[in-house]
Symmetry: C2
Subunit: 167 residues, 2 copies
């Protein structure tokens, strides 16, 4: 899966993701391990969307230094979500992760051609969400909005191709 995206500016937060995660582990009596430390670095280095497979691909292989088994990668990604560091959602049948801690709430446009995720923010969208929910006494914990279609670049390409076809 291609996973480039246009990124929003990070917010200023009092704790680093590492510190935040430490806090999370301590309050639950869980342990700080070298794998967890290494993974949090790896994940927050990239500011992009990714799935477990892509992450594993850019991590050290078995036998190399800092190798982490994929079982642990899957387990740790879920912890990061629990800890509020990452958000996850389903796209094309796989679980996509993105940074949450330190990043503003946002939604996505998804290009069906190049599979790029483009972020956008809309207060109006959140307002509508809350209004709809309030009307039926639904307590909102979050939402997921994905606009599908064709991005600017892919729209251009297709038009170019159509022109060529006419020649």
């Amino acid at each position: 899966m291609s996973n480039s995206s246009e990124s929003l500016e990070p917010l200023r937060v009092s704790l680093s993701p590492q510190e935040r995660f430490e806090e999370y582990l301590q309050t639950r009596g869980l342990r700080q391990t070298s794998q967890r430390k290494f993974l949090i670095e790896a994940v927050f280095q990239e500011h992009d969307h990714f799935d477990a497979d892509e992450l594993i691909d850019r991590l050290p292989r078995r036998g190399e230094e800092n190798y982490v088994s994929s079982a642990t990668v899957y387990r740790t990604l879920r912890e990061f979500v629990d800890a509020g560091l990452l958000k996850s959602f389903q796209l094309d049948g796989r679980t996509v992760y993105e940074l949450d801690y330190g990043y503003p709430q946002h939604d996505h446009l998804y290009c069906n051609v190049c599979r790029k995720l483009i972020e956008f923010q809309s207060e109006a969208l959140v307002a509508i969400r809350d209004k709809v929910a309030t009307e039926i006494s639904f307590r909102v914990s979050g939402h997921r909005m994905i606009i599908q279609g064709t991005c600017k670049d892919c729209g251009k390409l297709r038009r170019k191709k159509r022109k060529q076809d006419l020649v």
Copy 2:
């Protein structure tokens, strides 16, 4: 997965789902088979959300009359989506289907407790979608909005439980 939902009123459409599907098959040189006819009946009998597994559960078993293999169920559901009869989306890692042909565009609230899907319609939401897309020259083919949280009933239950806990 529980799949009850509050349903919107069907629209009036000139062709029945069956006729619409026939049309689809003919324009593509595909065949009308007894399995396809049977499945379209089964699917449009219920006005609810469902996944492949739930559908298969309420169909005749192997050996019984009108049995359809699950491979064919999966294949046919995708055809229904292609034909515009059904819509599909991912929820909790599985593919959920709902009637599309003859039903108005809408979105969902999803109760994390009872896993019920509640439908809602909002023109304002569509307007925001189109505005966001237009601003970056993105051609929209559709969208998916899911509001997560706790529905009215489950909110009540939880409060009741908390009260009991205090006793």
